[in-house]
């Protein structure tokens, strides 16, 4: 187990290098001059433009810029934002927790609801509750997050007045010894619900399919023959064995939410990383984009590793080697 972990952790390095190189090439090839964006947009003094280029090394050859970037990243320095003039690491430290909290809450909601609905669906397979749940799930998968978010705002905030329209809140708890401030709970509900409803469909469908497959296994038949109560058959004998594909989907969804919650962050004015990266691309703030993508890549790899470890927990037949 220990050697497996070490090997996997060591394997992260080439992935990070490949991603760092790929993102650098893509950003380098992008049209648009970061210096023009920095020097005032529509109206820039040519002298200021030149000095900006010199200051950020934008006049250097591609090779020199790449090597300087790689050396910097290798030393753990993600650079300084062109636009904000602050270290990228600080910007990530401010924005990543907000995204991670949102993704985590969404996944918890989606996992609970998705597995529950999957169970009901499998228990009443091919009968009206199953049809109804399938219909709802397909609907949720197909709805654009942006639209869903706006609809939830209109219903729960504007019409019913139960929840705030948007924002992160001003008074959430601060985690001691960190700069991280948690969102106010009522502000967290709608964005989490939006993302959860989006992920829920797939989780429910996978749970149902996996459960139905497991329920056809002979050991389930033998459990029933031994007089085990049907609810125990579903929850104790079948569910655990059916969870492997569900855990895979959960892992992929969670990792995707970390980087893919941009639309939700946009609708709910959530101060997350996705929005920061999108702004970075629009403003050609290359260090922010590079740092943000690397951060997401690292999170993605670590979540996948955690998923692999979960397999062993869920199914003792899985041995990590």
């Amino acid at each position: 187990m220990k050697s497996y972990l070490l090997r996997r952790l060591f394997g992260i390095l080439p992935v990070l290098w490949a991603v760092a190189t790929l993102i650098w090439i893509i950003l380098f090839a992008l049209p648009g001059d970061p210096a023009a964006m920095l020097a005032g947009g529509f109206r820039s003094d040519p002298q200021v433009l030149e000095r900006v280029r010199a200051e950020w090394g934008l006049n250097d050859s591609a090779g020199a810029q790449y090597l300087r970037y790689l050396a910097r990243v290798a030393c753990g320095d993600l650079g300084t934002s062109y636009r904000q003039g602050r270290p990228v690491s600080r910007i990530l430290a401010e924005t990543f927790p907000a995204t991670a909290i949102l993704a985590l809450c969404s996944m918890l909601l989606a996992a609970c609801a998705g597995v529950a609905l999957g169970l009901i669906s499998a228990a009443w397979a091919r009968r009206w509750p199953d049809d109804l749940i399938s219909f709802i799930c397909l609907g949720l998968i197909s709805l654009p997050v942006f639209w869903l978010g706006m609809m939830l705002i209109l219903l729960f905030a504007s019409r019913l007045g139960w929840l705030p329209v948007l924002g992160y809140g001003m008074e959430g708890l601060r985690i001691p010894a960190t700069q991280i401030r948690l969102p106010e709970l009522n502000h967290l509900v709608l964005p989490s619900l939006t993302l959860a409803l989006f992920s829920l469909g797939a989780i429910c469908r996978v749970t149902r399919a996996s459960l139905l497959e497991v329920l056809r296994q002979r050991y389930i038949l033998s459990s029933r023959a031994r007089g085990m109560r049907p609810v125990s058959v579903h929850l104790r004998a079948a569910l655990r064995n059916a969870l492997i594909p569900v855990v895979t989907v959960l892992g992929i969804d969670f990792a995707a939410l970390l980087g893919g919650a941009v639309a939700t962050e946009f609708v709910f004015a959530w101060p997350g990383l996705g929005k920061t990266i999108v702004h970075g691309i629009a403003d050609r703030d290359l260090p922010v984009v590079e740092g943000g993508v690397l951060c997401l890549c690292l999170a993605f790899v670590l979540v996948n590793l955690a998923v692999d470890l979960c397999y062993a927990l869920v199914d003792p037949r899985v041995r990590l080697q």
Partner: protein, 548 residues
């Protein structure tokens, strides 16, 4: 339902509980605090260093936190005292002597002296700071030598005593006081702004009416009334600036009472005005919207007839009424109404397809024959795309074929600007310009003078020695009544003789502001100049309060 299935259903419902629980226990509404204005900004201010303030978001915050020597009266745009309580201008228009207001303090408690003014202005010209707005002080004597690092200080800036500051110009600049009223000419405390770690970017310190109490990026900024403000403590206790990018979400928040003010909205003008008639306000803005030609490249190079054909082919009124729903007004020239020197007699171009075809033939392309399809560059924005489509359709009827090229802003900018030496790729592009100061120079010098070809403003690379000469002469004169005819003649040549651009429209500004917010004045320089220190909340709204 069998007992087994019932048990299963109960287990499943138990797993669903977190969702139900999350929805059913909202926090109670917080009590409304007195004199707090909640306003929306699209995103964080990119530059909280006033020396770099070059966009409306940064200007909005910098104008609240900092003050300069002088200011604009928000309504009349006349120059009024700020940190300087009085000033004298020498007869030759070269020496400006400012007497500073007594008892001006920065937010950190330090007393403002003329040494701070000297530091702040030197800083704008310092090549190490590389200010985007160095042109506001470029006319000061010795600024150029200081910029080249051949002098250690700016010859034309001096602080003979703590309450007196003197500026000597290289040559007279009749609009110099207006330049000093722009946000980049703010007075900053030396001890704070010399910090190499640039802590002032997160915690700006100025002598303006509000200080930054708290700033959570992409979430909110809390501006707190500065008790020692030399013009008297603002009536508002706080201004809560909320960063909400999506205008549709912001509109919902405004309707619900979480915002008192916003200046970008979704929905047609008619529907907003009908829904919120007491909140909706519209006012002219000193800005011009046009589609530019690249005059350094064929087919536009040296072909005024072709450019006139474009101008006659477009129906400006329909564009403003239908595409922009009345938020733009058709223009016949460059200067916006309200700018000194605005010429209502300027003929410009009316919509006349027959004349467009005639000029197209004169240009050597009868019926559009021989004229290749031209790319029209637009940055991605729904309204701009719609306006490009409208212009495309108009031009098509006149026999001119145009392809729309929609790209993101950075790509767009690169294609437009090129360098002073070589033009960008874009032949035909949308463009807009807002005046920083209420003077014809703020439009015509930057957009038409050949000295500014390239990124400095004259993107179309328009060059006419006669226009250059008129603009240079106007800059040397002091009396506005002598300057105006020169500017009007320069504008007439660029519009009627040269058809330098496809002239389209002038901007207006639209804002939503709750009726209980009093003291609102919409400045022709833009909504970022709403004087926050003059506002107050008359009565408390009954709407539910909401935090970011």
């Amino acid at each position: 339902m069998t007992p087994t299935r019932r048990a299963l259903a109960i287990s499943a419902l138990a797993l669903l509980l977190p969702i139900v629980d999350g929805c059913s226990a909202p926090e109670p509404a917080k009590p409304k605090v007195q004199q707090i204005l909640k306003m929306r900004m699209r995103e964080n201010p990119p530059d909280t260093d006033p020396a770099q303030s070059a966009d409306s978001l940064s200007d909005r915050i910098n104008l609240a936190v900092h003050d300069g020597l002088v200011d604009f009266d928000p309504e009349s745009l006349a120059i009024v005292p700020a940190v300087a309580e009085s000033w004298e201008i020498s007869k030759d228009g070269l020496i400006y002597t400012f007497r500073l207001h007594p008892g001006v303090r920065f937010h950190n408690g330090k007393v403002l002296t003329s040494a701070d003014v000297l530091y702040s202005f030197t800083r704008v010209l310092d090549p190490k700071v590389n200010s985007k707005r160095r042109e506001i002080l470029a006319g000061v004597k010795g600024a150029e030598a200081f910029g080249r690092r051949s002098a250690t200080q700016v010859e034309g800036l001096s602080a003979p005593d703590p309450k007196t500051f003197v500026i000597t110009l290289e040559k007279p600049m009749p609009y110099f006081l207006q330049l000093l009223a722009t946000p980049a000419a703010a007075i900053v405390p030396r001890d704070v702004y010399e910090d190499p770690q640039k802590a002032y970017l997160s915690q700006p310190v100025g002598c303006g009416p509000f200080k930054v109490a708290r700033w959570e990026r992409s979430n909110f900024m809390e501006l707190e009334a500065f008790g020692d403000y030399y013009q008297g403590r603002p009536k508002l206790d706080k201004v809560l600036v909320r960063f909400i990018e999506n205008p549709a979400s912001a509109m919902e928040e405004y309707r619900r009472g979480g915002l008192d003010y916003m200046d970008e909205m979704v929905g047609s003008e008619t529907s907003i005005a009908r829904e919120l008639p007491r909140d909706y306000r519209k006012a002219p803005l000193l800005g011009t919207f046009y589609f530019g030609f690249n005059l350094a490249r064929p087919p536009f190079k040296g072909n005024a007839n072709l450019r006139k054909a474009f101008n006659y082919a477009v129906d400006r009124q329909a564009l403003c009424d239908q595409t922009f729903e009345g938020t733009l007004t058709p223009s016949h020239g460059i200067l916006a109404p309200g700018t000194p020197g605005f010429n209502p007699q300027l003929k410009g171009y009316d919509f006349n397809p027959a004349l467009a075809r005639e000029y197209l033939a004169k240009a050597g392309f009868p019926g559009g024959k021989g004229l290749p399809a031209i790319d029209l560059w637009v940055n991605n924005n729904q309204k701009l795309l719609e306006s490009a489509q409208k212009v495309q359709a108009n031009l098509k009827s006149a026999g001119i074929s145009v392809r729309i090229k929609a790209v993101d802003f950075a790509t767009f900018l690169q294609a437009l600007q090129g360098t002073p030496e070589s033009p960008g790729d874009a032949l035909f592009y949308r463009y807009g310009w807002n005046a920083d100061y209420p003077d014809p120079d703020a439009f015509l010098f930057w957009l038409l003078h050949s000295r500014n070809i390239g990124p400095a403003g004259n993107i179309g690379r328009y060059s006419n020695p006669k226009v250059d000469e008129l603009l240079d002469r106007a800059r040397r004169l002091n009396a506005m009544e002598e300057r105006i005819p020169l500017y009007q003649e320069a504008e007439r040549i660029a519009v009627e003789e040269d058809a330098a651009w496809l002239f389209l429209a002038n901007y207006t500004q639209r804002v939503l502001i709750k009726p209980f917010v009093q003291g609102v004045v919409l400045s022709p320089l833009g909504p970022m100049r709403i004087p926050l220190d003059h506002l107050w909340i008359e009565a408390h709204p009954t709407a539910q309060a909401s935090s970011p």
